[in-house]
């Protein structure tokens, strides 16, 4: 058999020659040979051990005094990696305006797999998995139970919309509010921060169960979690910046605990994203509008921007899920009813929160302004209910069901 010649020139093993050798041998069928020619006797002598370790063998050598030296390496029968071949080079994924490579284009128009093997590992999109890896046991392996049609674009937007709670909020502006106002704001901020914890823990609990085949969902959830971490940060900071702290209310804890108990991804999307964060959109808009200082206003504004995305995902996911599987409608309603049963002893908005919001909207403790503030809070409650029903309809529920679900929603707002 003739051997292809490979001129090692000055390259040594461990110094780059092995890269050339591997490339040359990979291109051969088992039994194929290359003649490696080197001016170095030491390199020629060492080739035997290298070849054996790499699964090949040497089948001849020519070692004339003074060189050059030649060793014939025969490709062994074993594959270096127990995986299917990579395949030919494809047309690369498209770029968008400005040369941007969007996550939505990762699959080049092909859908994500409908079902992914529960045991597959961390295999990136299009990568070829090597056999023999340890088995995983993912719980969420069904695309439709996780997906939203715009999930990749939403993850993309989340990355683009990152902000910095330390620098992007004019903290000094919140230093000198009057006592009564600062106490009110601190209580409202504490309440929001408390809820943001749940908004983080819910997606975080699902993330490690999502099959890695759904990279877009993994990226989305990671962004969601990161958003919530910043929300915890910004509202905790706002609660503290004026020198007071608020009270973390037991009724809020009860409500949030039941949120964490929802084990179905779509159920959690309905309860957290559509209903909880949806209701918070109106709360944050209210806080932004009535904020007594620029720091509170900025915090509410920035968080609101993120929550819009989370609510969008929830609506998009629930609508797609119910459209694909009509039985889901009943399951989702049942999830909301189950939660409501656990919250049966809760009634109405927490007085502390209601008072805090009233003072913020009033701007002072003057009777006329307080009355105005109280009216604004009542209006807020109505706006929340109207918008909840509207969002539920957008998610695919009929008006009666939407109204029913909205009525079941927790008085804690989240």
């Amino acid at each position: 058999m003739t051997a292809r010649r490979l001129d090692a020139a000055e390259l040594e093993l461990g110094g780059g020659l092995e890269v050339l050798l591997v490339a040359a041998l990979e291109g051969l069928a088992p039994g194929g040979r290359i003649e490696v020619v080197s001016p170095s006797r030491a390199t020629a002598l060492e080739l035997h051990g290298w070849a054996r370790r790499a699964g090949h063998r040497t089948v001849g050598e020519l070692m004339p005094d003074g060189g050059p030296y030649a060793v014939v390496v025969e490709r062994g029968p074993t594959a270096r990696v127990l995986a299917d071949p990579i395949g030919p080079r494809r047309e690369p994924p498209p770029l968008r305006a400005g040369g941007e490579f969007h996550s939505a284009d990762l699959r080049d128009g092909e859908p994500a797999p409908g079902v992914a093997g529960a045991q597959r590992g961390f295999t990136p999109v299009r990568a070829v998995a090597e056999l023999g890896a340890p088995s995983f046991h993912w719980a969420l392996n069904d695309r439709d139970a996780l997906w939203a049609d715009d999930v990749a674009e939403l993850a993309e937007q989340a990355t683009r919309a990152q902000w910095d709670a330390s620098r992007d909020v004019p903290w000094a502006a919140a230093r000198d509010l009057p006592d009564h106002m600062e106490r009110a704001v601190a209580q409202v901020m504490t309440f929001i921060a408390q809820n943001e914890y749940a908004a983080l823990y819910v997606p975080a609990a699902f993330l490690p169960h999502v099959n890695p085949a759904y990279a877009e969902v993994v990226m989305w959830l990671a962004g969601h979690i990161h958003d919530e971490a910043r929300h915890i940060e910004v509202f905790t900071k706002r609660a503290l910046i004026g020198g007071y702290a608020g009270q973390a209310l037991a009724s809020t804890e009860l409500s949030l605990k039941t949120l964490l108990e929802e084990r179905d991804f779509s159920g959690a999307a309905l309860l957290l994203n559509v209903l909880g964060e949806g209701t918070f959109l109106d709360l944050l808009a209210f806080v932004e509008h009535h904020a007594p200082d620029a720091a509170t206003r900025a915090a509410a504004h920035l968080a609101h921007r993120d929550e819009v995305r989370h609510v969008h995902f929830g609506i998009s996911h629930v609508r797609r899920r119910m459209a694909g599987d009509p039985d889901q409608r009943a399951s989702l309603v049942a999830a909301a009813e189950r939660r409501a049963e656990k919250l049966v002893e809760m009634s109405g908005l927490s007085p502390l929160l209601g008072e805090g919001l009233t003072i913020m909207a009033a701007g002072s403790l003057q009777p006329a302004e307080l009355a105005e503030g109280a009216r604004a809070v009542r209006d807020l409650m109505q706006t929340m209910e109207d918008n909840r029903i509207r969002r539920l309809q957008a998610a695919g529920f009929d008006l009666a069901t939407s109204t029913h679900l909205s009525e079941l929603h927790t008085p804690n707002l989240m």
């Binding site: 461990g14 006797r41 002598l45 060492e46 051990g49 290298w50 054996r52």
Partner: protein, 273 residues
Amino acid sequence: MSRATAEVRVGCVAYHPRIVTIWESFLEHFEARSVPTDYILYSNYERQVSALLAGDIDIAWNTNTAFVAAEQQLGGEARILGMRDLDAEFATVIVTRRGETFEDAAALAGRKLALGSRDSGHAAILPLHYLREQGLDAESACELVRFDTDLGKHGDTGDSELRVVRAVADGRADAGALGEPTLAALRGERVPAVADLEVSWRSPTYYHCNFTALPSLDDGVAQRWFDALLAMSYDDPGQRQAMDLEGVKRWLPGDRTGYSALAAAMAAGAPET
């Protein structure tokens, strides 16, 4: 089936915790091939050879030094039930610092030659033997720098060879002997100590480890066990990890032709085991 009643008992020396990983995997393979096998660990090859001769085990996974020792005590009647592809073309290399290579073994006279454990065939006994064949009695002509670590394990741990290359790299020795696969592994792992070392000398090839059995082992059992061993496949994802740990890509039948140099060396000089 309980391993306590396994049909075949294989002895192996526990030179590293990975031996357990390897054999737990191999045992599944033998079980699946209907040759229930168990393994018994020894801390040194001398005890393992004694256990083989005493019938405590049926097969010993031996180094070449241990095989020759067993063979001598069995009057040349030991049976070989397979070896790794690696074992069939084993060699020892002598490394020197960059720019200090030699072509003739005689150049080592008067120099410091580092050797691995004195009971290692590849890192001590055979390099001395082959140099002697090439006219250099290194024991008298060279200043030997010996690293006798992990005695009883016949060089399996690789510790003494790592000390050899470090001694050459930092100038405590002018040249050092080690197994060719050890150098390839150190090179592959980019161990800094070998970065500026070059191969000056390569021994003829010889055989290394094998599965040694007593001549009294039942022919049928021996054949079934041998067939199962050779059926192990590096292309089987369930077996590749253990085979990688054992350094084998393919099991081969063994024979005794590749042990004559070591047998001669051990018979001639004190085998120093």
